[in-house]
Amino acid sequence: MPWSKFDCTYTAPTGGRQITYCDALREATDQAMVHDPRVFAIGLDADDRFGVFGSMRDLTHKERVLGTPISENAMTGVALGAALSGLRPIHIHLRVDFMLTAMDQIVNYVAKWQDMFGRQGKVPLVIRAIVGRGWGCGAQHSQTLHGWFAHIPGLKVVTPSTPYDAKGLLLASVADDSPVVFLEHRWLYKNTGAVPQELYTLPLGKANVLHRGDRLTVVANSLAAMHALTAIEQHDLDVELIDPRTIKPLDLDTITASVQRTGRLMVVDYDFPFGGFGAEVVAAVTERAFDSLRQPPVRLGFPDRGMPSSGVLERAYYPTPDRLAQAMTAMLLGEVVPS
């Protein structure tokens, strides 16, 4: 089952078959399972009629999709044990918040297993989870946490923003011999885009430039990348938009080169603001491209508190394309950036 033959570096096609982000995930899962009998999926409600918001429905190999009890911690260990015993599991969580019950397994076991034994073994394990705001779901069902997982050595963290990326990166994650945390924003599921039919993998650790521009580099992933793109296009801003696609490994080369050209950096991180991905990008770019920066970098994200439930509070809590556009415009004008 040589996975490497599917490696592909071409950029997203602009024409051709258009499918949803959800269908791209489904197709990737299906193709992975068909191509490699070692691939199986496991997760609470992964096998039910809702099929993880549709991303698991009608798979060719249903017999390799297993439901589980509400036992996310042990189930992560089960997935790890299976990965150490010849299989390539995809462990699925309907919400990233439920993964918190499994942090011992994720941080102490999954992430450490290779380092702990001198990197002698493989741990081909993908953990998929849906992230981000729902609809009045409150503090326990709305988290994102990509930067938090990336803090832990031994975990790759992937956050696709487009259908094309969703498919290619999920297949690359399954093909990878180390653990990958694969985070899908619920609000991207219905987005459509061109996606090749055949099996292909995109490199983990390679950013995607979503928009070319000269005066400001905006780094944004997942839903934030799509919002930033909307903001830039609607206001026709001279902004370079970089979607790192994988939070870890992080493609600092692409980001730094862009900042060296534009002289300005903004990170849009739909997550808690302290530390995390946004801080890492600002810190790493400042360390590397200090002399190119013309003004202080800016981070945009959530307030430093748990998510509220009421609609009015949600609308104040979460950034929108409009608010991103305002911030970019202010930054380009050298004004104080509204956060």
């Binding site: 918190l100 409150g138 503090a139 009421s310 104040a316």
Partner: protein
């Protein structure tokens, strides 16, 4: 376990009133839900009213009840008002959680509701902590853990049972077993029998959770034992969920018979048979409750929304 029920009129009517309040509030929520006035996921308790009413009628304001995601029934039975409940569902600042919680996160410490949680299982441990607090303070309140059948699969449930038993804490574990975790039947999520498992740790009683007099009696005995210093007790209540796991639609799993399984009908039949309920009393109660619900909804709809400054860290 099938002793003949005995109950006085006042108790009988209180239980009926509580169950009807839960039922009617839930049905109103279901009716309003498609209009999106409530921007929050709801897990309704229709069909499960007997557990909430039967257990909570023994609880005092000082007793601390920790709930999961399926909150409305037990919260109302424990003393949460309809106004703060509806205002919370409407996302208003007058809601019991000021609009920050939504359906799954209700807060009313004055009535012994220190909060509820939407991550399945974890709040069981909080109830054990309340029991520990009572023990350490030599206070006589009780911690009550409220959870579904599928929560018994979460490791935190076992850890909690063990610790409560080890320290003989005043904790009542209430398993509201509707046989399902969303659409997954119990046979797919539990290799164990819940009663046998709980018995490894503490005295355990199983009751028909659609029979409010049965749950009332069993909860009464369990709480008497707990308050007498007898350590934790486990109440396993088999019941039925009439609605889908979440939202306003009826359950389509084909396991509910609304005549056979209705806890309200069961109680009314019993009360009428015993001469404790007469003529149009039941209709009167229902109408009173409708008015209270009308009032609560009017209150909620007229209440201000919370202001974004509250989001400051």
């Amino acid at each position: 376990m099938t002793r003949p029920h005995t109950i006085n009129r006042e108790r009988g009517l209180r239980l009926l009133r509580t169950m009807r309040t839960i039922r009617q509030a839930s049905e109103r929520i279901a009716a309003l839900y498609p209009s999106n006035v409530m921007e929050t996921p709801v897990h309704l308790c229709i069909g499960q009213e007997a557990v909430a009413a039967g257990v909570c009628h023994h609880l005092r304001d000082e007793d601390k009840l920790f709930l999961g995601h399926r909150t409305h029934g037990p919260a109302l039975a424990k003393g949460l008002g309809l106004r703060p409940l509806f205002a919370e569902l409407y996302g208003r600042s007058t809601g019991c959680s000021r609009g920050f919680g939504g359906s799954m996160h209700l807060f009313d410490p004055a009535h012994g509701l220190p909060g509820s949680s939407a991550i399945v299982g974890g709040s069981i441990a909080l109830a054990v902590g309340a029991g520990l607090s009572a023990q350490l303070q030599r206070a006589d309140f009780v911690g009550v853990a409220w959870f579904g059948d599928a929560a018994t699969n979460a490791g935190v449930c076992y850890e909690s049972l063990n610790f409560a038993a080890l320290r003989k804490l005043p904790v009542l574990f209430v398993c509201e077993d509707n046989g399902y975790s969303n659409v997954m039947p119990k046979s797919a999520h539990s290799a164990h029998d819940i009663e046998s498992l709980a018995k490894v740790f503490m005295p355990t009683v199983a009751v028909d959770g659609t029979d409010v007099l049965a749950t009332f009696a069993a909860a009464g005995e369990a709480l008497t034992a707990i308050r007498a210093g007898g350590g934790p007790r486990f109440l396993h209540c088999k019941t039925k969920r009439w609605m889908k796991h979440q939202g306003h639609e009826p359950c389509d799993l084909g396991v509910v018979d609304r005549d056979r399984d209705c806890p309200i009908q069961k109680l009314e039949t019993f009360l009428r048979g015993s001469g404790l309920l007469q003529g149009a009393e039941s209709t009167q109660i229902a109408q009173d409750i409708e008015r209270e619900i009308d009032d609560a909804i009017a209150f909620a709809a007229a209440s201000p929304f919370p202001t974004p400054e509250l989001l400051e860290a």
